[in-house]
């Protein structure tokens, strides 16, 4: 067993247990903090896969900005825990059944259909981070220029949408 594999197994254990912690904890603040840890673990996976830029974007945008926004809204609404209410009796049962079906199906597909399509190459020392980033940037601003610009418009529209939604309504007579 190589060092890479041991590293992978430990990290995936952390990722899965933090995801389960997010799912199972009653308090929404704990859920958010578990999810932050999960995002950071996935960022380490990106580093292992030789994608440093995506790893840093993951930490700043997901673990930083998005989760801070989540925590802010949780605390603003005071919605850490929901009061106990009557739940639909069949909902949990149906959800569990569907989830187990999904898990069995994906496992089946992976065990029967997926051919070994190769190992993740070791990020070799000759390819340094700067050239990697330069290649990524060149591709982003030549081949993928139009999607990049569309993304900027999307972010602008989202910003305007959020402002319009939470704005105090003026009285119109």
């Amino acid at each position: 067993m190589t060092l890479d594999l041991i590293f992978f197994l430990i990290l995936s254990l952390i990722a899965i247990s933090t995801a389960l912690g997010m799912l199972l904890s009653r308090n929404a603040v704990y859920s958010a903090l578990f999810l932050v840890l999960n995002f950071i673990t996935v960022a380490v996976f990106y580093l292992l896969l030789g994608a440093p830029f995506i790893a840093m974007a993951q930490v700043t945008v997901y673990a930083g900005a998005i989760m801070v926004l989540f925590l802010f809204v949780i605390m603003l609404l005071g919605a850490e825990e929901l009061p106990k209410a009557q739940v639909l009796p069949w909902q949990k049962l149906l959800a569990r059944g569907l989830a187990i079906a999904l898990a069995i199906e994906t496992t089946f597909v992976f065990l029967t259909r997926a051919r070994p399509i190769g190992d993740v190459p070791q990020p070799d020392a000759s390819v340094n981070t700067v050239t990697n980033l330069r290649a990524l940037g060149e591709m982003l601003f030549t081949q993928y220029l139009l999607p990049f610009e569309v993304t900027s418009i999307l972010l602008l529209v989202a910003m305007i949408g959020a402002i319009v939604l939470v704005r105090k309504e003026k009285r119109v007579h």
């Binding site: 900005a65 929901l82 989830a99 898990a103 994906t106």
Partner: protein, 100 residues
Amino acid sequence: MVPVNYYIVLSAILFTIGVVGVLTRRNALIIFMSVELMLNAANLAFVAFSSVIKSFSGQIFVFFVIAVAAAEVAVGLALIVEIFKSKHSIDVDQMSSLKG
């Protein structure tokens, strides 16, 4: 060397946990977090494949997914705040005004 299939299986497990969260939890914020978890699982698969075929396209896709997720969170949380203002709850079971 880690076979890429391991990454794909991990991504599938994380995605399934996200699906369970969306299906079972009633807190709208936690449902939202589960959606983020699912997006993240898909991103992991993208990066794993892009590193195997030695192309940057997968990483650029992940970049766009992150941007779209940021936009989605901004609008979605604004909607949740609005719903809380009118219903005083973010329990998704309470949002049944149209039920006959």
